[in-house]
Amino acid sequence: MTNISIEAPETVRGQPYPGAPDNWRRFFTFSTDHKVIGIQYIVTSFFFFLIGGTFSMIMRGELITPDADLVDRTVYNALFTMHGSVMLFLWTFPVLVGLGNYLVPLMIGARDMAFPRLNAVSFWMIPVVGVLMLSSFLVPGGPSQSGWWAYPPVSLQNPTGNLINGQVLWILAVAVSGVSSIMGGVNFVTTIFRMRAPGMTWFRTPAFVWSVLAAQLIQLYGLPALTGGAVMLLLDITIGTSFFAPERGGNPVLYQHFFWFYSHPAVYVMVLPAFGIFSEVLPVHARKPLFGYRVIAASSILITVVSGSVWVHHMFASATPSWMRILFMVTSMLVAIPSGIKVFGWVATIWGGKIRFTTPMLFALGGISNWLFAGITGIFLASVPIDIHVNNTYFVVGHFHYVLYGAIVMGIYAAIYHWFPKMTGRMYYEGLGKLHFALTYLGTALTFLPMHPAGLMGLPRRVASYDLEFAYWNVIASIGGFLLGLSTLPFILNMVSSWIRGEKVGNNPWRAYGLEWLTSSPPTVENFEELPIVVSGPYGYGRSRPLVGNIPNPGLTEFPESLTQQKS
């Protein structure tokens, strides 16, 4: 393989270069180790998750009463804009890139990503995005108040008249985040294509790697459209061009095409890795091979293809002609096929298995059940007549939060718990994990389920005040929202205390198949002492066959003696 020639001389002390810190300080350096970068991504984005969550709880506080009485309307509008922007650009995207960063090289048997320095650069742009985004609270006029879509003409209106305003900072932040994501995309795609271990053919590659590949391909074809749209918007605001400004002859609907051409597929950028996580976690904790692995893997790529032609379903109520509405209704509904294949495959995977309700398993199962619900309401939304009623209402808000929180965040939690022993060498506390799951699942249902009936009754999204008839559902959703805020506490407690003094477990506490479980926990700098030569496909549960030919397969073929074995 190509990476053999660039192998660094083996280091004993676990440092990427002489003199590099090998304690916690390494997380604050410009490290090129994909594992350090992965954890940097995860921890940084989790910090922003808490900030975005705080915004949403202030919003839920406002919405617990019908009147706009807690914060000024401008503040509310800034909060929902920042909530959406922070949650997407600073939490969901980066945390999934972080998980991919950590896991992909380990899962394919590579020593690092293809371009380690580029990798570090893409990570260090995330704090820049965060500073740009949040500093907009300090400029006159406050942060952007046009929603995370930044639709013109509202986004072009600049009440203060300053050149440096919240909207400009927002566009710059999104542009930097886009550059970071494109770099990440190039890196992931190259790594997965070129650096798989000897013997790891495409259909021996784990489903998670497939899903990351599918997601990152979307980044490569989609992001240029968003970045282009953002640049045009920036020019419209700053130097008075007329791409989108109607008073100068521009077309605001054009922006919507640029925006959604990327931003709908972006949902698959986020959900595909979550699907990959489900596909990895279920077989381990149900002790059965992934059912229909090849089809599940290929369906990820199918989603990549189909998702490129569905964006107009966000614009059914815009000034779109009927033929466009009907065409995009059909393409949008077709996404149900690859998604359905996955769900059926997961159900068949656990069927007849030896299921253990570990925390990652619970989160994966919870995520799948929420995804099933969100997928069904997604088909509702694809239907033009239904969408014309519920478009821009809380029905949509409920739907995509079921996707983003119910499925994706649950998937992220599942991944963090599942690979926590690999990342730290220690086990998390199961009791706190289960408490975390219970609060999260209940909170998700309480917060986002009531949004569906509210939307059907006609409650528009993004309102700071509403008519009395919607109060009932909003109060429930607010209580659920606070519960979700609370649910992060056991998680933080668990992660911090387990990392410091959790029980030390061996390299493979789950007795899982997969190259990442063959190396030490936490893995050394170059991941593997000797590059593995893969001799069989993943998920070999129930077959007792070796995964690699050249190094021992502890926990796979010689179980149970190795179960409690400490790191050698």
Partner: protein
Amino acid sequence: MMKLRAILIMTVYGILVTLASLWMAKQSYSWFPPEASAEAKLLDDLFSLFTGLGTFIYLGVIGPFLYSLIFHRASKYDMSDGPPIEGNIWLEIVWTATPLILVLTLAFVSYRTYEKMAVRGPMELVHLHMPQMMQSAYAEPFDSKPQQEIQNALITAPIEQVDVIAKQWAWVFHYPKQDITSTELHLPVNRRVRFTLHSEDVLHGFYIPAFRLKQDVVPNHEINFELTPVKTGTYRLRDSMFSGTYFAANQADVVVQPLDEYQQWLADAASQSPTPAFNRAVFEYSKANDREGATKDKVAVRGWDTIPPASPPVVNYAP
């Protein structure tokens, strides 16, 4: 024996799921505001169909899922693996083909409903002269009543024209025939209404939940939009496309009246000279910018600068 039991359980579960789906499909009608337009009935029927099928799929998947979670658990000291089943080609074909057929059917039914609603403005001019042709084009509705209402409205009277002007943050309704303006939308029942939507500044969304219809209003574009109110009463028009600071307050009442009351209202309004109407956004804006700090008791957190609202609309009629 095992097989027989499995078939029996599956049959019973299938029946239960079907009953539950039918029940949900019936329930779905109660989740909506009143059906105040012919289009609303069409939509509610379609939604009911989606709800029924959606429930069926949800329960159909979640049943085996939960069954497995309850009955296929590993016992504490059971360290063995499950059966190494890696797939089943027939099963996979079935669960690819079934959703494919299902979504294509749903897309087709949605298309038919959309066609029946005929919200596309300019098209209707053609149908108006050939109502008989239109009859035959829609042969198999699953409830022909709403369509009949649309038809009758089209046959019995010319389309009622209303110009809608959206701005930050007010709705103004202009009746071109009588040259009347109003901040409350009055409509005759059982008449086809055509709106021509204008925006003076940003994007707005013309959305009346009781009518189940919505159309974005785009500056520099004239968008035609049609519907047929079939139930008298007062409903709410809401701005559905985020339009800036006072977006949430940008609402108006919609009054659907019998024809004679509607005509009376038009006559009354015509007799009144235009005066500035109360506008919520202007009211809140002036309060917020009050030097005395009157907003201090109103909101806990003060805000930032905003685009000032347009001056209150000057109209013949305001509620």
